[in-house]
């Protein structure tokens, strides 16, 4: 009896460990078929799939945003900092601006500097209104330009697997970020 209990406990532990290592189940289809033409903080033309082959944290923001965007940026940095070193080296971050008019490459570079963002693994990018609308719709971010300037928009941070399929999301500041950390860590090569 005791042996049977111990054995089943052992199986449970092994089972959990096995599940934890399995690659993460995507929540939906890849966003990489979207053919967007963005410009990054280095002035380079990049597609939405600039980080194809890597696990990715993607979020939308705009530079002059007074409230929600600083939270999004700091949460993204916090999630990135929580990753095990090996996972972090492989992970990439893509931050897409709503504000193609003001968030020029120079402005994006300034934001990156000011926020101490790792330029090797982080891409800040902006694009045409059409492309931004397409990306937002695919991610499920709703937003609108405000008459007084700026944008009203959702808080959304999404992780993508190596092929651009969403694997986890948080939709408000202060949410538990462990599902994102776990999804990135379990994005098998």
């Amino acid at each position: 009896m005791m042996r049977a209990v111990l054995f089943s406990m052992l199986m449970l532990v092994v089972g959990c460990a096995d599940r934890a290592q399995k690659s993460v189940e995507p929540l939906g289809p890849s966003i990489y078929p979207i053919n967007a033409s963005l410009v990054d903080q280095r002035g380079a033309r990049v597609g939405l799939d600039v980080d194809r082959g890597h696990p990715v944290i993607i979020a939308m923001f705009y530079g002059s945003c007074p409230s929600v965007c600083p939270l999004i940026l700091s949460d993204v940095k916090r999630i990135d900092a929580m990753l095990p070193a090996k996972v972090r080296d492989d992970a990439r971050v893509l931050l897409v601006s709503f504000d193609g008019e003001h968030d020029t490459p120079a402005e994006l570079a300034r934001i990156a500097r000011e926020r101490g963002i790792d330029g090797n693994r982080f891409t800040l990018a902006s694009g045409s209104d059409d492309d931004v609308r397409t990306i937002a719709a695919a991610l499920g971010v709703t937003y609108r330009a405000l008459p007084e300037g700026g944008f009203s928009h959702d808080y959304l941070v999404t992780t993508l697997d190596r092929e651009g399929r969403p694997t986890a999301r948080i939709d408000h500041a202060g949410a538990d970020v462990t599902p994102l950390v776990s999804a990135l860590s379990r994005s098998q090569p």
């Binding site: 939906g28 289809p29 890849s30 966003i31 078929p33 979207i34 609308r133 397409t134 719709a137 695919a138 499920g140 709703t142 937003y143 609108r144 405000l146 008459p147 007084e148 009203s152 928009h153 959702d154």
Partner: protein
């Protein structure tokens, strides 16, 4: 009226003001709408068929899943044949992504919510039917009618601008359909979204407009629904 490609007729709509039923902020109680043009009728099956033949990446058997759910164009006999679907019936089961791609292929775009609502606010005789009791009663009866067994062809009665089928045929995509749910946290937006009663509405008697807001807020860009079509603007 200006004739456009594939026989579609595009109609000029004069400038005006759109008053959202649930203004998302005090600065947005009145939204100026510049003059624009829009299709006289919703896009038809025949027009969508020509589009997917010219742009096969939008065929139902080739479209990337991110751009449309599996119901996309399923009312056709096959990926490139209408079958029982009539050429001049409105194209349904079309996602927002596909609708935008179709409009873009014609050098056009989807109308904004403000543009669509401005065009749809016209009665048969006036640019603003808000104070026309008979017209409003007619619209309300249109919205409360059950869907017909066989979907009519496009090209019903025209309104003041010469536009047909804005009410009663099918729901239509607008480019910013998700506007209403943005910034959920703010009280004004919650009012707009959660107004299960029309409490807080700028015009509590406009049930048809309320239905449209409620419908739009429920959408996702990949949805392909049997009662949802679209028309293009520019």
């Amino acid at each position: 009226m200006i004739a456009a490609g594939r026989g579609a007729v595009v109609v000029a709509i004069g400038a005006g003001t759109y008053r959202p039923l649930f203004p998302p902020s005090p600065n947005e109680a009145q939204i100026a709408v510049a003059a624009f043009s829009m299709d006289k009728t919703p896009a038809t099956n025949a027009e969508l068929l020509a589009f997917v033949k010219a742009h096969p990446e939008w065929r139902r058997d080739r479209i990337a899943r991110i751009f449309a759910e599996p119901t996309y164009l399923t009312h056709w006999a096959s990926a490139d044949a209408l079958g029982d679907a009539k050429p001049d019936q409105p194209a349904l089961n079309v996602s927002w992504f596909a609708a935008r791609a179709y409009c873009s292929s014609r050098g056009m775009r989807l109308p904004t919510e403000a543009e669509w609502e401005h065009a749809a606010a016209a009665s048969n005789t006036s640019a603003d039917g808000a104070n026309d009791g008979a017209w409003r009663a007619e619209i309300l009866s249109v919205y409360s009618r059950p869907s017909p067994q066989v979907l009519p062809s496009v090209g019903g009665k025209t309104n003041f601008w010469g536009v047909s089928d804005l009410h009663g045929l099918v729901w239509e995509w607008v480019v910013d359909f998700g506007n209403a749910t943005s910034a959920f946290a703010s009280g004004a937006d919650r009012m707009r979204f959660c107004g299960a009663t029309a409490a807080g509405a700028s015009d509590a008697t406009d049930f048809a407009a309320f239905e449209r807001v409620a419908f739009r807020t429920s959408l996702h860009a990949s949805y392909a629904m049997k009662n949802l079509g679209f028309r293009c603007a520019r």
